[in-house]
């Protein structure tokens, strides 16, 4: 088993009111010096079998057609090294 992480973010030109609401709350919490916050989504996919090129290509298709809406969002796909030994 391996984990593939898909990160999805709104494109830079798309207004992110959720991120803005978070950013505006920061000074009230004593966090200064953060000029912008954008909020995204992270998907962790547990993949059965080897994460070879073919598996990654399929996950890329999945991200492009379903997990992200590429009209408004960008995405990245990366394989996460298993932190714990896989039995």
């Amino acid at each position: 088993m391996a984990r593939v992480v898909v990160d999805v973010m709104l494109k830079p030109e798309i207004l992110d009111p959720q991120g803005q609401a978070v950013q505006r709350a920061l000074p009230r919490l004593g966090f200064e010096g953060i000029s912008d916050v954008r909020q995204g989504k992270r998907f962790e996919l547990e993949v059965d079998g080897p994460v070879d090129e073919a598996a990654l290509a399929r996950i890329h298709d999945l991200a492009e057609s379903f997990l992200a809406n590429t009209v408004i969002e960008d995405f990245t796909v990366k394989v996460e090294e298993a932190a714990e030994a896989v039995k």
Binding site: P17, N69, I72
Partner: protein
Amino acid sequence: MTARIGVVTFPGSLDDRDTQRAIRLAGAEPVALWHKDKDLGQVDAVVLPGGFSYGDYLRAGAISRFSPVMESVIEQAKGGLPVLGICNGFQVLTEAHLLPGAMLGNDHLHFICRDQKLRVENATTAWTGDFRSGQEIHIPLKNMDGRYVADEYTLDKLEAEGRVVFRYLDFNPNGSLRDIAGITNEAGNVVGLMPHPEHAVESLIGTGRTDGLPFFTSILKKLVNA
């Protein structure tokens, strides 16, 4: 022969019954369609109603876009089948790429529910023939994810081709770019809008006006004359 207009029920649809009722009041025959049905059963047009299909998980309309019924709706819409998407239905149509752009959370982050004034910008689509171009109407609006966005090129193209069908007047309730409330595809058979015409078809309830009824009489007239 009465026109048969299908209304799809997804898990989480709320306004399917209201839409069926509006269709009946307009004089057509509503046909209940289930999201798992691949077969549309000889309907002359389809309405994707409002609600929160699949709880709006992932993105509004994103999961329902892959339901079996949508395979047929997408295929037949490309062949000219008239399709109207109301609110969540509009979101499904953008997710299915039958209409350009995308729907995002309201810019003020709140759910909004109000009587909304609109201008009918295009009275030549399959669903707006009984309006006059430039006509101002009031119909209810209620949504969480009603912010229409598209890139500048797409927005300019929509404007140039007269594909902005409805625009918000006096008040932009969700931050939609260029006050866009509804659009159509190139052929004019697929229309999506955020406000709810099915809630303004009887003078006794809702806005007290029947400004939503022409949507359903428009399609009926078009089908009967076809």
